[in-house]
């Protein structure tokens, strides 16, 4: 884990209210794994005070980080104003990433909205393997531009809640359909998106005996497991307990979030 003085390389719009930013981490960048995140410093003053957690959406050949984010509040609004050359601090790589120890199985990737961010990095790294990439958004304008999505050997399907493009309905609809085309024991599911969507995906996987990994988020202060702020109820063994999204996650086994 390092706290690196990072420099914005570019920060461009890739969908409605959605930006892709590349951060130069300098000569000794940390080397993240898919599913890990960074705590980015957003202000230079005391307001906004806390850093914000962002999944890593990719790493380029020079070790620069890609951050894909949506403007949802004060801090992301500030970030959207950053131009190339702006400096910030990036603490990382943090958290437990996706477990990539599976062989020759089909991967079904389920992305809900801005949850697509860590899944782009994942897709980069698990290539080649048969991959079904399901991308859901509220409406056509919020769909991430095609050029960012993985291409080689990927069966890409799109859904929009309002039917403005692709399948009309939630991405879980596409997911249930995809499951009918694969063998449960030879499939692994990776999902990221709104929490209700993840719980639904995890539930379906649990019922069908399909291995599933979900990437969650939570409001965080420290990001390293010191403050205990990002507690999440998990079901491991006989008694439910609190895990911490920053340290025990953000990637969890689907079974852990299904009561």
């Amino acid at each position: 884990m390092k706290d690196i003085r990072a420099k914005v390389k570019y920060n461009r719009v890739v969908a409605s209210n959605t930006y892709l930013m590349a951060l130069d981490l300098g000569p000794e960048p940390f080397k993240p794994k898919p599913g890990q995140f960074v705590m980015l410093r957003v202000g230079h003053t005391t307001d906004p005070l806390l850093r914000r957690p962002f999944s890593i959406a990719g790493v380029d050949s020079k070790g620069s980080l890609h951050i894909l984010y949506r403007v949802v509040g004060k801090a992301t609004a500030l970030m959207s104003q950053w131009s190339p050359g702006v400096k910030t601090w990036a603490l990382g790589p943090l958290g437990k990433g996706f477990d990539l120890g599976f062989e020759k199985d089909t991967a079904i990737i389920v992305a809900g909205g801005i949850g697509v961010a860590p899944l782009i990095f994942l897709a980069q790294r698990i290539d080649p393997t048969p991959m079904i990439f399901l991308l859901g958004a509220k409406t056509k304008d919020e769909l991430i531009a095609n050029e960012i999505l993985p291409k080689k050997g990927v069966d890409l399907k799109i859904s929009t809640d309002d039917g403005s493009m692709g399948y009309h309905g939630p991405v879980t609809g596409l997911f249930e359909e995809a499951l009918t085309r694969v063998r449960p024991r030879k499939t692994i599911v990776f999902a990221c998106g709104p929490e209700p969507m993840l719980r639904q995906v995890a539930c379906i996987c649990s019922l069908q005996g399909v291995r599933c990994q979900v990437s969650l988020e939570a409001a965080m202060a420290c990001g390293v497991g010191a403050c205990l702020g990002c507690a999440l109820k998990v079901h491991k063994g006989s008694k439910p307990s609190y895990a911490h999204v920053c340290k025990d996650g953000p990637v969890f086994d689907g079974d852990e979030i299904v009561p």
């Binding site: 005391t46 005070l49 409001a219 420290c222 010191a226 403050c227 702020g229």
Partner: protein
């Protein structure tokens, strides 16, 4: 005349710290979480997360929310319990070259005594810090720290069950903090630390719900600094005990405010979330302040407010 190697060590209540900067309870874990970035042996001290007799899982989420220049927390005193601490965390802490302070609390007066007693035999802990801001279940849930009598009884029982210096951490959620400070001094406290968090609440206007599952929580960060500085000033001139100042310290200049007001040492908490290097930057800043002002020993700054 410039001092090329200022002495920034401080002595208080039987403790000698290599510098006055201590990591506050609940913000530095057990010391290993930030170890990649902050070498604990560079700090004046580390206060570990508050320990209770039995493990406590803490409150349901959401446990934290950012507020203007601050944050509210309702972690719920989550901790692994004093026994697990001694077995699992103390060995690592013992090996650190820094002062280790165990923050403790109880749900009743007697529980405070039991936790102190459990730590008595263990070496590795250099001092106890007593959190009196938690609710007393025997007093209808009122915080020990809001009643001078209760605060005194807790101080006494901890003193009876330990040979180590006892720091009592005061709650600011009181009408007269000097009254509480005097009560714990009379009861035998060796050092007083203040302030703990200020009670506060935030509401999500769209959902019409409290942002914390616990409804209310403790406010920390720069927003509380003026409250803390004034309370340190009041307490330091009213008791004969050394004082540790806590409350929104982000940089060396903030730490100096507290020292000039009367604090011999300071604790830094929320700042570590914003800048993991904050404590190290503060230590460097204090050294630099001494060099630039011809101060050979930082201790001479303590209580130096011009009347």
């Amino acid at each position: 005349m410039k001092s090329n190697k200022p002495d920034i060590s401080v002595t208080l209540g039987g403790l000698h710290l290599k510098n006055p900067v201590i990591a506050a309870s609940g913000t530095f874990g057990y010391g290993d979480e930030y170890a990649d970035i902050v070498d604990p042996s560079l700090l004046g001290g580390v206060v570990v997360k508050g320990l209770s007799l039995k493990p406590r899982e803490g409150n349901p989420p959401p446990r934290i929310v950012e507020t203007p220049s601050g944050m509210l927390n309702a972690i719920g005193l989550a901790n692994i319990g004093v026994e697990a601490f001694i077995k699992e965390k103390l060995p690592w802490l013992r090996a650190l070259d820094t002062t280790v302070i165990a923050n403790i609390y109880g749900h009743s007066v007697s529980e405070y005594g039991e936790v102190a007693s459990a730590l008595r035999a263990s070496d590795g802990v250099d001092a106890l810090e007593v959190n009196i801001s938690c609710p007393n279940v025997e007093m209808g849930g009122m915080a020990f720290g809001t009643d001078p009598e209760a605060a005194a009884r807790v101080t006494e029982i901890v003193k009876q069950n330990t040979d180590k210096p006892v720091i009592v951490k005061l709650s600011p959620n009181v009408t007269d903090i000097v009254q509480i400070a005097k009560a714990v001094e009379a009861a035998g406290a060796d050092i007083i630390s203040l302030i703990n968090t200020l009670t506060g609440m935030a509401i999500d206007v769209r959902a019409r719900r409290a942002r914390l599952a616990n409804i209310y929580g403790g406010l920390s960060g720069p927003a509380i600094r003026p409250v803390a500085v004034y309370m340190v000033y009041q307490v330091a001139r009213s008791v004969n005990l050394p004082v540790i100042g806590i409350g929104g310290i982000m940089e060396a200049v903030d730490a100096l405010e507290f020292m000039i007001a009367g604090a011999t040492a300071v604790q830094v908490g929320t700042a570590s979330f914003v800048n993991p290097q904050a404590m190290l930057d503060i230590i460097d800043g204090l050294r630099q302040y001494c060099s630039e002002n011809g101060i050979s020993g930082l201790a001479e700054v303590v209580g130096s407010l011009e009347a």
